[in-house]
Amino acid sequence: MTDLTPITALGAAKPAEVSHGSLTLTERPDIGLASLALRKGVTCPEGLPAAGEATDRVFWIGPGQWMIEGPGQADSDFAAQVKGDFPGCSVTEQTDGFSVVEVHSHDGAAAIEALLAKLVNIDPVALAPGCAHRTALHHMTVFVIRRADDQIAIIGMRGYAGALWHAVDLAARRLES
């Protein structure tokens, strides 16, 4: 493996983590990402989530397009692996295109939904566990994935990592007060 040392999207050696009240924010640089797009005439592989939905490793990003997640595989050639799993599809390496912030609530859905109400204009009903949407957040574009009742992932463009962290952190802090 290379002798260069990577840094996180927030510019540090170690991922950031902070807690405000019942919410904990964690940066997840370990997640490998690759986008998958169907080619004309290729039949859709089994088990890929439908529009607006996510499975534990895949979320829908557009018609005939998905993002594949590989926790812990950021340092592998994840795109190559995905290409192998989905022959005949267009695969693009995305691991470094994004910055993943996971938010976990220690007292259930309420805190998560209160946070979402301050960040994105999506009806909580459409962000039930298993849902994933791309939307606007403080003038940025993000994917919001409801991993579970008490957990969401907010995935923003890497260059905006600092601004995204600021926005989520501030909202969480204000919920505390």
């Binding site: 290379t2 840094i7 999207a9 005439g41 050639d77 470094d96 295109g97 909580p124 890497r158």
Partner: protein, 979 residues
């Protein structure tokens, strides 16, 4: 103090406050208005135009008179309604719009001059001498006008915004609203109940009605408690829904901390965007008055407001012993008499315009009587009553006026649905409300407690039925409907001024004058007299004014016109509409992968769209940015330089038809590009003008990487998706942006190959193996996946190397380390700009959306062999015959700068837009040339090499001589980048 018994104030929590420097005491639950009345303060402000003494007129957000500047210093908040300000300990307020003290306002002279200041007078004078308008008249008018003053300091508080979604939004928490919310809440619908007041109940808090034989507040408390328990219901007090927007979206402001001395850790206010599937508008009604001579004195108040002060806040409008009179055109005024009497306030008379006025209690009733005048400049002392042709003065300390109620149809008309006049209700009722909105209760004329409760429930059931909720009727409390019988009576005729719009000083006379001058349509009346344009937006005046105009024209009210309302319902702080993202967080910052490294190197940063880019890296001893930039430029020309170019847009294009697709979006051929090669490409807009340029690399038969300029990255991607989805959906192409995924570093200069050789993993960089415009996927630094492009923006031998973004910073450091002996130097956007200008490469200033390929001398790149976006329109006469061409410009005096933006003229020619020969687009000092150079567009520029032109900058009083040269100041043959 004139406190009465009872009320909803907490006598155990006294609060101190200051008004105009004097300290007073009130209680928790008071508003500033109720506390001032309780302290016997009657004079609270001055009117806008005549500076008439004014007192508190209402008990709600419709208040036209009692506007104060609340708080001090940077938190000073002008034009704040005392009637909506919750009292807190230490509150400080000042009256506004007077010179000298409130009691002795020097501008009160305007009142004496009022004959000269009639409606529209200013359109007729102040015209001579012309110069005097800006110098004399206008400044004087501006000083006198306006209400409160801003502190001119930045707002120190924090603000927030958020998004809520519900099945049913209930606007207004009075009888109708509570019934609606309870009905919907029990049906399991997601409900939001919003009310501008600090507590729910609406008029139920202000009236003496009982529900189920108990005080109404008991029922209100029980309902709120139940709603509060429901997980599907959100109660939002202190929240004003100010606007109805498309598709069930409402704007609302929650005053989170305005009732506290300071917000502390939390935000002051939150802007909520509420998306509601259905809405019940239960906004209630606003009482109107009856204009009569001198009806604007402190102490004259709306009857419903006086009732509210007595019942909710336990304050009497007069000191104990003094008398209060009531002037009404209906039964409603009599309720005020009864409630005041019940509270022990002395009522002198109820003056009822109706000859057959009923009597509801033991008080002095004057039927068929009107109030025709008043005395008491700074506080009402007496009123004149006319009955059967006889006029009598009566000593009173306060007068309640009841002219009927105007439904609050505002939000129902925000989509321009005009309310309609209802003769029986003597009011405008909502008509064509926004889709999904069901008005209910007093705002549809059902103001009686029992009917409001029932109507609220009905509205909720109706709204929810459309959403397939089976809302069941709830058991409503036993309630009464106080009689609302009234006879139309709009104003008391007279020769003295009778105010219709208190704040803007519009009187019945002004309306008559507007009529005389043919300003008769409602909009003309409004604009000519400024009626209804004050901070209260005519809540207490518009309908009365219409009625007066109707009377003058002899038309009916509906014939005369209707009132239409626009957002916001009441004033909204500009801060909260800004949503809190301000200062450096106005827009998010986008950082490059090497940002931290550049910062550590002491780079200066510059905003490039959303990006922050290193502008230059100053070294010790460099005192001027030019020194740093010149050094960086020379380093690139002599040795090798490094620049983070990650910001260029990168679009991954795959699919079997990728080549054909790119042929159609690029003006030049891309399908023929060999795998492993890069080509410079031009994109046009469909109108034939230049859109963007960049490189296109072919990594495989079915895989390209398109780069766009930093500025157009988003638009290029959008247009390519448009072409893919809308124009040629049958092509097999897939697009995705990968701009952030790859850290891309330009390695430029004669020694770039030598440097790169030291980090690639045994990759042959020789000219033969990896020629100009080649590209490859490879590994570097012992196994790191990378992409290498041999492209040059500087005109030197150059490469761009891309690695996964998280390694960008380490790669930059490694290149610096590995190239130390080669004189490797980081360079920023300034040097980048100089390098490309020396080479004559176009950038933003040349690709400004107004230029063409021909103007850049690239006309031949627009392929005639194929169709592509913009190709056909680029051949239109006006574009084809455009002879302006991009040229280089050399300052005839090398050390003198040519300013970009200067216009170019034939030497000696007169300078005008007609003789204009072009303009300077980009300019810089060229250490290579050893003087100032520039690029510019010049008429027939390609045929004027060597000509001396005048670069004129009259804006800054400059003029220079410049020589027209080739745009390629460096290596015109392009040998360097090919070795």
């Amino acid at each position: 103090m004139s406190r009465l018994s009872g009320g909803l104030i907490d006598r155990d929590t006294p609060l101190n406050f200051h008004f105009n420097g004097r300290s007073y005491q009130g209680y928790a639950g008071d508003t500033l208005a109720s506390a001032l009345i309780a302290n016997g303060v009657r004079l609270v402000g001055r009117s806008f135009k005549y500076h008439r003494p004014r007192g508190i007129f209402t008990a709600g957000s419709e208040e036209p008179n009692a506007l104060v500047t609340l708080r001090e210093g940077a938190r000073a908040e002008p034009n704040t309604r005392a009637t909506m300000t919750e009292l807190f300990d230490g509150l400080v307020a000042r009256s506004q719009n007077h010179i000298g003290s409130l009691e002795h306002d020097l501008l009160a002279v305007n009142d004496l001059l009022s004959p000269f200041l009639a409606a529209g007078f200013y359109y007729k004078t102040f015209m001579w001498p012309r110069a005097f308008w800006e110098k004399l008249y206008e400044p004087a008018i501006r000083r006198a006008a306006g209400l409160g003053a801003l502190s001119m300091e930045p707002d120190p508080d924090a603000y927030d915004k958020g998004f809520l979604h519900c099945d049913l939004l209930v606007i207004g928490g009075g009888a109708a609203g509570l019934a609606a919310a309870l009905t919907a809440g029990r049906a399991g619908a997601r409900v939001i109940l919003a009310d501008e007041d600090s507590r729910f109940g609406g008029r139920l808090l202000a009236e003496s009605d009982t529900l189920n034989g108990a005080p109404a507040v008991d029922w209100v408390a029980a309902v709120c408690a139940e709603l509060d328990q429901m997980p599907n219901v959100r109660l939002m007090s202190r929240t004003t829904v100010f606007g109805a927007y498309d598709h069930g979206i409402y704007g609302a402001v929650e005053r989170v901390a305005d009732h506290l001395p300071t917000p502390g850790a939390c935000v002051r206010q939150t802007l909520w965007r509420i998306t509601a599937r259905r809405t019940v508008l239960a906004a209630g009604a606003t009482e109107r008055h009856i204009p009569f001579a001198d009806n604007d004195r402190p102490g004259i108040m709306l009857a419903g407001a006086m009732r509210a002060y007595a019942n909710r806040w336990a304050v009497s409008p007069v000191p104990a012993g003094d008398k209060v009179a009531i002037f009404t055109n209906g039964d409603d005024g009599h309720r005020t008499a009864l409630d005041l009497i019940a509270k022990g306030v002395r009522v002198s008379h109820v003056i009822d315009t109706r000859t057959d006025a009923p009597r509801f209690g033991d008080y002095d009733l004057l039927s068929g009587a009107t109030v025709t005048g008043s005395r008491g400049r700074k506080g009402l002392r007496a009123i004149r009553v006319a009955q059967d042709g006889r006029e009598t003065w009566h000593i009173v300390g306060a007068l309640a006026v009841a002219g009927g109620w105007n439904p609050n149809v505002h939000l129902a008309s925000h989509h321009r649905g005009r309310p309609v006049w209802d003769e029986s209700a003597l009011a405008f009722l909502p008509h064509n409300p926004p889709m999904g909105m069901v008005p209910a209760g007093a705002c549809v004329g059902k103001g009686g407690t029992a009917e409001a409760l029932a109507d609220g429930m009905r509205a909720a059931c109706a709204a929810l039925a459309e959403l397939d909720f089976s809302a069941k009727p709830i058991s409503l409390p036993e309630a009464q409907n106080a009689s609302a019988a009234q006879a139309p009576y709009w104003h008391v005729p007279g020769t003295r001024r009778a105010w219709v719009d208190f704040q803007n000083d519009v009187t019945v006379k002004d309306i008559a004058l507007a009529h005389k001058e043919n300003m008769r349509s409602v909009e003309h009346l409004k604009r000519w007299t400024t009626l209804g344009m004050a901070t209260d937006q005519g809540k207490t005046s518009n309908v009365s004014a219409l009625a007066v105009m109707a009377e003058i024209t002899g038309a009916t009210i509906p014939e005369t016109g209707t009132t239409i309302f626009r957002p916001p319902y009441t004033g909204v702080a500009l801060s909260v509409l800004g949503g809190g993202d301000t200062g450096e967080h106005f827009r998010p910052k986008r950082l490059t992968p090497t940002h931290g490294w550049a910062k550590a190197q002491g780079a200066e940063f510059v905003e490039v769209g959303p990006w922050m880019r290193a502008q230059y890296f100053s070294r010790d001893g460099e005192t001027h940015w030019r020194q740093s930039v010149d050094r960086e430029v020379l380093a690139v020309r002599r040795d090798v330089g490094l620049c983070d170019v990650t910001t260029l847009g990168k679009i991954d294009v795959q699919g079997t038809d990728a080549g054909e697709f790119l042929n159609r979006v690029y003006a030049n051929m891309m399908g023929t590009l060999k795998v492993g090669m890069v080509r410079y490409g031009l994109m046009l807009r469909e109108d034939g003008h230049l859109f963007d340029d960049g490189t296109c690399a072919r990594l495989a038969e079915d895989h390209y990487v398109v780069t766009s300029t930093t500025a157009n990255a988003g638009a290029v991607y959008r247009n390519m998706e448009f072409a893919r989805q809308c124009l040629w959906p049958d092509l097999d192409v897939q697009l995705i942006s990968t701009t952030d995924a790859w850290a891309q570093i330009a390695v430029a200069g004669p020694k770039s190959r030598a440097l790169l050789q030291r980090i690639v993993d045994g990759f042959d960089l020789s000219n033969e193996a990896f020629p100009f415009m080649a590209c490859a996927e490879l590994t570097i630094c012992k196994g790191l996946r990378a992409r290498l492009f041999r492209i040059s923006f500087s005109g030197e031998l150059a490469y761009e190397v891309a690695v996964p973004a998280r390694y960008g910073q380490a790669l930059m450091a490694r290149l610096m380390e590995a190239g130390a002996d080669l004189g490797v130097t980081p360079y920023g956007t300034e040097a980048l700009g100089v390098l490309r200008t020396e080479k004559g490469h176009a950038a933003g200033a040349e690709l400004n959306g107004q230029t063409t390929a021909q103007m850049l001398g690239l006309g031949r790149m627009v392929s005639a062999k194929k169709d592509s976006i913009g190709a056909i329109m680029s051949r239109r006469e006006g574009l084809a015959q455009d002879r302006r061409r991009l040229v280089g410009l050399k300052s005839c005096t090398p050390e003198v700068q040519i300013p970009a933006g200067a216009h170019l003229f034939t030497k000696g020619a007169t300078q005008s837009l007609k003789t204009d020969q072009g303009w300077v687009t980009s300019a810089c000092y060229s250490p290579h040339v050893g003087g100032y150079i520039a690029l510019g567009f010049v008429e027939n520029g390609d045929r004027r090499m060597g000509e001396i032109l005048t670069a004129a900058n009259p804006l800054e009083g400059q003029s220079f001589e410049v020589e027209v040269t080739s745009a390629h100041f460096v290596d015109p043959e392009g040998g360097r980048l090919r070795d």
